[in-house]
Amino acid sequence: MFKYIINRFLRSLLTLFVVITVVFLLMRMMPEEGYFGKEGTDKLDAKQKEAILTNLGLRDPMTVQLKNFYEELLHGSLGDSIIYRPNVPIGKIIKEKAPYSIAIGLSALGISLITGLIMGVIMALKKNKIPDKIGTFYVVVIRAVPPIVYYLFIQVYLTKILNLPILFDVDEPSSWILPTVAMALGSIAGYAMWMRRYMVDELNKDYLKLARAKGLSEKKIMFYHVARNALVPMVQYLPASILFTIGGSIYIESLFSIPGMGGLLVDSIQLQDNNLVQALVLMFSVVGVLGLFLGDVLMAMLDPRIKLHGDGGGR
């Protein structure tokens, strides 16, 4: 077990290192306007621009740039913002924004876990009956309709029907409801679909015949055997749905004007703040790598049958 976690952790670190380096190198290929700001590009002459670039260390040899970058990272510094909030450390900006994203992301995750799993169980128990068909319809619609479409409809029509605020307001608790629910809709469909699938697979297995022959009640069979075993692979889906909330949060935060990280990424892209974009891409990538690592470890902990000293087969 321990060996597996260490092994998997080291591989995640390697992945992170590659990702960080690739992102850094790719960002060096970006147009240089991102270092002067929209006004600066027009006003500054070539000499001044060159001075700014040299000052930022962008004219150093690539190896030196990489070394500086790693050193700063090790000290926990992501550099300064250039245009979004000039000369403010990016770490400070993120510290202000992250709590909103985490709060909404986790609430959405909680809602979708509970709703999605219950929905999946009901669908599996009533397979091919009306509840299953309604559930399947929901899953297909949510997966097929682009998120922007139903997010917009929620913002335009649902706010009116439910009489809730259209834009986010920190002090107004009711303004948290719709963004969170909207973000959860997609993962609910995911959880329901997979839970149904695993339950149905589990229902066809031989050990259930033995359980019935022993005279166990259907209730006990369902909750102690079927649902429990079906939950094991679901654990691995958990981090993936955290990743999904990243994509979702980019839309939702800028739609509802939530002062979070997703909205920040959109703003920094539109302002072409190279440093900020780089830092945010790195952060989201780290979240992604960590999420998948946690998913694998959790699954290995929950199911003793999963081979621990992996030959790296799975993924």
Partner: protein, 323 residues
């Protein structure tokens, strides 16, 4: 005793000229080994049983044809021409749908009807191209990955890096670095999309290569081309078709997303992403909301159709679901 006699007399009454001895024919003897099972015919049979999917197929084919034919129909406006009122010389801004402008005009007086069809054409083109690139790269890398054992660790590591990072982030990064345009969007999407396809092909190559029935085929002297087309291909088709069908709504969705965050196609190229993004501004104005609703409706119809069709066709082309 009596019964036996009766049967004998029956047999004697049968006309013997109806029967003749068969001659041995080595070709016909071989033929018995094959059934009249046809892969594509069975696929089509299973697919046509799904009435919803067939209906959506008709809708999509009609839409596709219409985006091509539309500019040549009579009385069509140009999608990029800014229409100007001849009397006042002003732009025909934000006109509601009318006989002249079927879906109304946008905020600078362009005809929304023709913009929507032109945008659909662009978006479908992007979707189809990304789908095909995904197939070609995916199958190519996947078969090398599965077949050449030396490359396995290298490609696996590349795959790990790409799949560990959220796709959205890679998409944003590539689109941010390159200049906005159709090619950028296609490249950005293709960079991440091939991975799933490649992994699937790799696993399949590894599994199927040494299966008993392939071993049997090889022992019988079946040529490689026949093994590839008859033993391997049917297993691949279901996933290839499914992924191709799903690539189109995915690509259109990504295009909308990139436009939304400001790194999509330039504004002068109409696309569904651009149209929705333009219409979004008028979301809060009920009288102008049509500018959002029309492109959104077209986008939803296309994505739902391809999604349902893709799943139906994926099921139908899986040989396990035949007969």
């Amino acid at each position: 005793m009596v019964k036996n006699n009766l049967e004998n007399s029956d047999i004697e009454e049968i006309d013997k000229s109806l029967f003749e001895f068969a001659k041995y024919d080595s070709k016909k003897a071989e033929l018995i080994g094959y059934s009249n099972y046809s892969y594509w015919k069975s696929t089509l049979n299973v697919f046509t049983k799904n009435k919803v999917a067939v209906f959506l197929l008709v809708v999509v084919v009609f839409l596709l044809l219409f985006t091509v034919v539309q500019p040549y129909l009579p009385n069509q406006h140009s999608p990029i021409k800014i229409n100007i009122d001849e009397k006042t010389g002003l732009q025909l801004r934000n006109l509601p749908p009318s006989a002249e402008y079927w879906f109304g005009t946008n905020s600078i007086g362009q005809d929304l009807w023709s913009r929507i069809w032109s945008g659909t054409r662009t978006s479908l083109f992007i979707g189809l191209t990304v789908g095909f690139i995904e197939l070609i790269i995916g199958i190519f890398i996947g078969s090398i990955w599965g077949y050449v054992r030396k490359f396995d660790p290298i490609i696996t590591e590349i795959y790990n890096v790409i799949t560990n990072v959220p796709t959205t982030i890679i998409l944003i990064l590539i689109a941010y670095i390159m200049k906005p345009g159709i090619i950028t969007i296609i490249v950005a999407m293709s960079v991440t999309r091939w991975t799933n396809m490649a992994r699937f092909v790799r696993n399949l190559v590894i599994i199927i290569r040494d299966r008993e029935y392939n071993l049997a085929s090889r022992c019988l002297g079946t040529p490689l081309s026949r093994i590839a087309t008859k033993n391997l291909l049917p297993y691949l088709v279901s996933v290839i078709m499914l992924r191709l069908a799903l690539a189109i709504p995915l690509a259109i969705g990504s295009e909308v997303f990139l436009t939304y965050i400001g790194i999509g196609l330039p504004v002068d190229v109409p696309s569904l992403g651009n149209l929705i993004n333009e219409g979004r501004v008028f979301m809060m104005v009920p009288s102008l909301r049509y500018q959002l609703l029309f492109p959104t409706a077209v986008l939803s119809i296309i994505t739902i159709s391809f999604y349902v069709m893709g799943n139906a066709f994926g099921d139908a082309s899986d040989p396990k679901n035949h007969l």
